[in-house]
């Protein structure tokens, strides 16, 4: 019960292997009847060309790899959707790798992808070291970074302007009259630090006093943020502060739950702003004002670029370093004071 080969089909059809090959690859220069006959035999016998033998020379897999932190995080799942959809229109498939925020796993996946001979790799997590990325350059492997930068001169990346986003959030609150603003720090991607830096700069520029006590410790997830906010309220600091900035929407979600559970109300007692604009932001207990990140675009643009580079390796000489703009999305979680 051996699998059929092109040789078997050629014998059955009484033509050469080449003719069958031409039919398979839909090349011209095959007489119509010959083609039809071969096709019918292929169908009848359920012959399927050996993908590996086909590609032994070209090394083309028509597959790309995507490394993300967690497919269940709406940020990544939206980005992944953009990747998968664009890839599909070019008849590419996507191997999705979940680092689970674990650098060891991130690099294991990177190596798996390289071994599998994918045509290109999209890296959307920091769980792949800069060394590993340098190595990609040395080995001339096509890749694009999304949501993170590289120090490599000739690396391509797509990031958002997190500093600007951080300013937008801070300025918005200040414009609403807030002066005592607490920053719930996220352990996010690189962007996290930029958002914090923007907060500090904006406060300074507006001559509003702040110090380290205005900034939380690093919060990993919504649960973390929940407990931190509970503490914040129990220490009666909520009477002192009028607004909270969440380093990302998950942090803000945790904070929101804590605030409400403690019997306070948003935005009456406390204003709250997030970052990312996950789709859930608008269905929370209080529709969350937040900073939009172009998640779908991240996926689409980086994939388009990757596919271009695969098609034309010359493009590697002209790396694109794209910085997308964030956007303030005003909902109901912040109020004007005084």
């Amino acid at each position: 019960m051996q699998r059929l080969t092109i040789r078997d089909i050629s014998k059955i059809a009484n033509v050469s292997m080449m003719t069958v090959s031409r039919v398979i690859n839909n090349e011209k220069h095959v007489k119509k009847e010959t083609k039809e006959n071969v096709l019918s035999i292929i169908k009848q016998y359920g012959y399927e060309p050996n993908y590996f033998a086909q590609n032994i020379k070209t090394r083309k897999s028509n597959t790309i790899g995507l490394i993300i932190g967690d497919i269940e995080n709406p940020f990544y799942s939206r980005l992944a959707k953009g990747v998968i959809n664009v890839a599909e229109t070019s008849n590419y498939n996507v191997i999705v790798c979940n680092s689970n925020y674990n650098p060891k796993l991130g690099e294991k996946y990177l190596n798996m992808l390289i071994k599998k001979g994918v045509d290109g790799i999209l890296i959307a997590t920091i769980d792949v070291s800069n060394d590993a990325i340098n190595n990609l350059n040395k080995r001339n492997i096509t890749y694009v970074l999304v949501t993170r930068k590289s120090e490599e001169e000739n690396g391509n990346y797509f990031i958002a302007d997190d500093y600007l986003g951080g300013r937008m959030a801070s300025e918005y609150l200040i414009k609403l009259g807030h002066k005592k603003i607490f920053f719930l720090r996220s352990a996010d991607v690189l962007g996290a630090n930029e958002r914090l830096r923007a907060f500090k700069d904006t406060m300074k520029e507006n001559n509003i006093f702040f110090d380290d006590s205005y900034i939380s410790k690093i919060l990993t997830n919504a649960e973390d943020a929940y407990s931190a906010t509970i503490e914040f309220i129990e220490e009666t600091r909520s009477k002192e502060f009028t607004a909270l900035i969440g380093g990302n929407d998950f942090i803000a979600m945790g904070a929101m739950d804590a605030i409400i559970d403690k019997g306070l109300s948003i935005p009456k007692d406390l204003s709250l702003i997030g970052y990312d604009n996950l789709w859930v932001a608008k269905i929370l207990k209080v529709a969350l004002t937040t900073i939009r990140q172009p998640k779908m675009q991240f996926g689409q643009m980086s994939t388009e670029r990757l596919l271009e580079m695969i098609k034309n390796p010359e493009l590697k000489k002209y790396p694109q370093k794209i910085i997308l703009k964030p956007e303030l999305v005003i909902r109901n979680s912040c109020k004007k004071i005084n």
Copy 2:
């Protein structure tokens, strides 16, 4: 600047190709020093074996395909996470395909996966016809269905008992004293009809009157459900009914927003129950009572089964048809009446 081949390495190392091959594949019967020498040369020259040439005989890709409806839907992203994680522990990669609820795309993906020679396929959407699945059997392609059934005698599938889940939801409301219950019908997977059937049966068994006017038209998504519920309220039917069943959590989310936007309150004016227990259910404006589906388990168990079948094709003779149990998750969206 041609890529290095095993032949190049063998020349550099002054050994035969076979020795290099043995080293690559970590076989024994290679002298320690020889092995180390070859390994160092491989590293130095950055040689990577041609994946396609390696597998031309075995046809083993160590890759599986997963076809889902929409990676952005938390139901599927949790399932996908289970798949990806289990696959990883067996050093398998996962090609994730998004049918976007489009049967044409679903079948296109199926064909792409077959062409790529993946070792197995997981189908978690109805956007792949039964014919296409029959064909999989004929061609002896390893696959497992998740979240959907097949008519095939020897097909493997993992589904949940949606009829039971439907009963759980209905009985819970009835136990709380509700008699006028409106069913918001989802256009979901096959399960949708089972949930509705269970609703009808439960009503009948409890001698509670109902007719078709107790059942909405088919609702595709949260927006759909939102408008339907707005209409429902504007027709003042909300005064007549005391509870709503959402065919899934998205439907319930749309309904919840509509109810609140119309100035009514949950569960005071109207009780609401969902289905799926997406992670967002607990952070909605009112924490949603719902029926839990074992999403992660779906992904994990089906992948484990698929990998077993790949390892041991004999198992195809003993198809597993597994039905997982749903679970009632009580939160704050339903109240006792009378």
